[in-house]
C-alpha cells in the first residue's frame, strides 16, 4: 500500500513530461480519444524561424544571466558576508527576491522606456539580471559562512595574497555552490515569462513568450513542442545534478 502510494506520487510528477512529449508528437488528438491517432515528428521538423530565434534568445539570456549573476553574486556576497552591515544587506536582498517578477517589471518599465531599453535584447537581459542577482547574492551569502571566512583568514595568515586566496581557496571550495547558483539563475531566466513579456514589449520573444502565444492561439501541438524545449535543459541539469549529488553522498558515506 505504501509503495503503491509512493509510486503514484512519483508517477504524478513524471506524468507532465511524458504527456508533453506525447502531445508534441500527436496529430488529430480530439475529444474523446484517450490517445492520439498517430504519432509524427511533423511539429518538430516543421518549426519556423520564430521558434529558432526564441530558442536563441532564451539560450542567450539564460547563459548570460546565469554567468553574470553567479559571478556578481559570488563576488559581492564574499565581501558583504564580512561587512558590519551584512544583516541589513540580507534583509534588503529578500525584497526583490520575493517580489512578483511581473509586478516588478511593471514598476521599473518606465526606466527602461526612457533609456530606450524596453523592447531591446539588452533591456530584457538587464531586467533579468536585476531579478537574478539578489537570488545569487542570497545563495552565496549563506555559502560564505563563518567557516569559509575563517578559511579565507587562515589562507591570508599563511601568506596568500587576496588573488591567491581567491583562486587557490575560494574558487575551488565554492565549486559546488557556483555550479548550483549557475543552474538556478539559468533556470530563473529560462523559465521567466512575466518580466520578459513586459520589458520585451512582445518584441523580444523567448521560448516562454512564444509558448504563451501558441497557447493563446490554441496551437496546442506547437505549444507542446516549445514546452518540451523549455523542460529539456532543466531535466538535463537535474539528471546531471542528481548524478553528482548521489556520487558525493556515496563518497561521504564511504569515508565517514
Amino acid at each position: 500500500m505504501k509503495k503503491a502510494l509512493l509510486y503514484s506520487i512519483c508517477a504524478l510528477f513524471a506524468l507532465p513530461f511524458a504527456y508533453l512529449a506525447l502531445l508534441s508528437l500527436a496529430t488529430q488528438w480530439f475529444y474523446p480519444a484517450l490517445l492520439p491517432d498517430s504519432l509524427t515528428f511533423l511539429h518538430w521538423t516543421g518549426l519556423h524561424a520564430g521558434f529558432f530565434s526564441a530558442l536563441a534568445y532564451s539560450c542567450l539570456f539564460a547563459l548570460t544571466i546565469g554567468m553574470f549573476s553567479t559571478l556578481a553574486g559570488f563576488l559581492s556576497a564574499q565581501y558583504i558576508a564580512g561587512h558590519p552591515w551584512r544583516r541589513w544587506a540580507l534583509v534588503l536582498a529578500y525584497l526583490p527576491y520575493a517580489f512578483s517578477p511581473v509586478i516588478y517589471a511593471h514598476c521599473i518599465k518606465f526606466f527602461f522606456l526612457v533609456s530606450n531599453l524596453a523592447g531591446q535584447v539588452t533591456g530584457v537581459m538587464l531586467a533579468q539580471f536585476i531579478l537574478c542577482y539578489p537570488f545569487a547574492f542570497l545563495l552565496f551569502f549563506r555559502h560564505f559562512d563563518a567557516d569559509l571566512r575563517a578559511m579565507e583568514d587562515l589562507s591570508a595568515t599563511l601568506g596568500a595574497s587576496r588573488t591567491a586566496t581567491f583562486f587557490r581557496v575560494l574558487l575551488p571550495v565554492s565549486k559546488d555552490a557556483l555550479r548550483l547558483c549557475f543552474a538556478q539563475t539559468f533556470l530563473i531566466s529560462w523559465f521567466d515569462y512575466g518580466l520578459s513579456s513586459v520589458i520585451g514589449l512582445g518584441q523580444v520573444r523567448t521560448l516562454t513568450v512564444l509558448t504563451y502565444q501558441y497557447i493563446g492561439e490554441a496551437n496546442t501541438y506547437l505549444a507542446a513542442v516549445t514546452a518540451c524545449m523549455i523542460c529539456f535543459p532543466p531535466l538535463l541539469l537535474l539528471w546531471l545534478n542528481q548524478r553528482f549529488v548521489f556520487r558525493s553522498e556515496t563518497l561521504q558515506s564511504e569515508t565517514a
Binding site: 587562515l154 589562507s155 591570508a156 595568515t157 599563511l158 601568506g159 596568500a160 591567491a164 561521504q252 569515508t255
Partner: protein
C-alpha cells in the same frame, strides 16, 4: 630575547569594550598560554595580532612594527579550533599550500613536505582527503601546514577544543614536542585550566578585555580568578574523602 611586543591594544565594538589597553611581551621560542572564559576577548586579541581584526595599538615582532601590515606580510599564523583543512586538497597539498604560495621549487617542496609528514606521523595518509581523516589527524595536518612555512609566531585559538580527552592529551604532547624541536614561539588561548598550565611557559589571564601576565606559576596559582586553587581544593577533598 623578546619576539613579540604588544602595546595598548584596544578594541571596542558597538560601544562595548572588547580589549582594554592590552600590553605584554613574549620571549622567542616560548609559549604564552592565556586562560579566559568565553567572551572575554581571547579570539579578538589573537585576531588583532594576526591582522584579521582592526583596532588600535602597537604590535612589534622582532623589533619591527607589524600592526600596519596586512596579515599576509606579518609572518604570523593563526590556527582555529577547527582544523579548517582545505577540502579540495589532500593531506600533502594542504601541508604544501604555503610553500606553493612561495613558489618553492618542486623537488625542495616535496622533500620538505615529506619531512613534515614524517614528523607528524602522517606519511601513509599523504594522499588522503580531509574527509578521510580523524579529528586528531586533521589537527596534525593543520599544524604541519602552519609550521612548514616557519612562521615567526603561531597563534592558537583553543586548538584542541573539538577533540576528545585522549586525543586532546596526545595533541598537547605532540605540540610540546614540536615546539621544542622546531623552536616555535606561540601564543595559545584556552578556557581549559589544565591545558594552559601544561602548555604554557608563561601564563596569562584575560578577563573582560584586561590581560594579566603572571611572572611565576605560583602567582597564577595564588590568583583566585584562575580557578587553580578551587581545582586543587576539589581534588584534595576527594583524596581526603578516600
Amino acid at each position: 630575547m623578546k619576539l613579540l611586543s604588544v602595546q595598548k591594544l584596544h578594541k571596542s565594538f558597538a560601544g562595548k569594550t572588547i580589549l582594554s589597553s592590552v600590553s605584554f611581551e613574549l620571549e622567542a621560542h616560548k609559549t604564552l598560554a592565556v586562560l579566559g572564559k568565553s567572551g572575554c576577548g581571547k579570539t579578538s586579541l589573537l585576531k588583532m595580532i594576526a591582522g584579521l581584526l582592526d583596532g588600535s595599538g602597537e604590535i612589534q615582532l622582532n623589533g619591527n612594527f607589524v600592526h600596519t601590515l596586512p596579515p599576509q606580510q606579518r609572518g604570523i599564523v593563526y590556527l582555529y579550533q577547527e582544523a579548517l583543512l582545505f577540502p579540495h586538497l589532500n593531506v600533502f597539498e594542504n601541508i604544501a599550500f604555503g610553500l606553493r604560495l612561495r613558489k618553492m621549487p618542486e623537488p625542495a617542496l616535496r622533500e620538505k613536505v615529506d619531512g613534515m609528514l614524517e614528523d607528524l606521523g602522517l606519511t601513509t595518509h599523504a594522499r588522503k582527503m580531509p574527509t578521510q581523516l580523524s579529528g586528531g589527524q586533521k589537527q596534525r595536518v593543520a599544524f604541519g601546514r602552519a609550521l612548514i612555512i616557519e612562521p615567526r609566531l603561531l597563534l592558537l585559538d583553543e586548538p584542541f577544543g573539538n577533540l576528545d580527552v585522549e586525543t586532546r592529551a596526545n595533541m598537547q604532547d605532540f605540540f610540546k614536542k614540536m615546539a621544542q624541536q622546531q623552536q616555535i614561539t606561540a601564543m595559545l588561548v584556552t578556557h581549559d585550566l589544565k591545558e594552559a598550565v601544561r602548555m604554557g611557559d608563561q601564563l596569562g589571564y584575560l578577563d573582560a578585555g584586561n590581560l594579566h601576565i603572571f611572572d611565576h606559576l605560583r602567582d597564577f596559582i595564588a590568583d583566585p580568578r584562575t580557578g587553580m586553587q578551587a581545582e586543587s581544593a576539589f581534588w584534595q577533598s576527594i583524596q581526603d574523602a578516600v
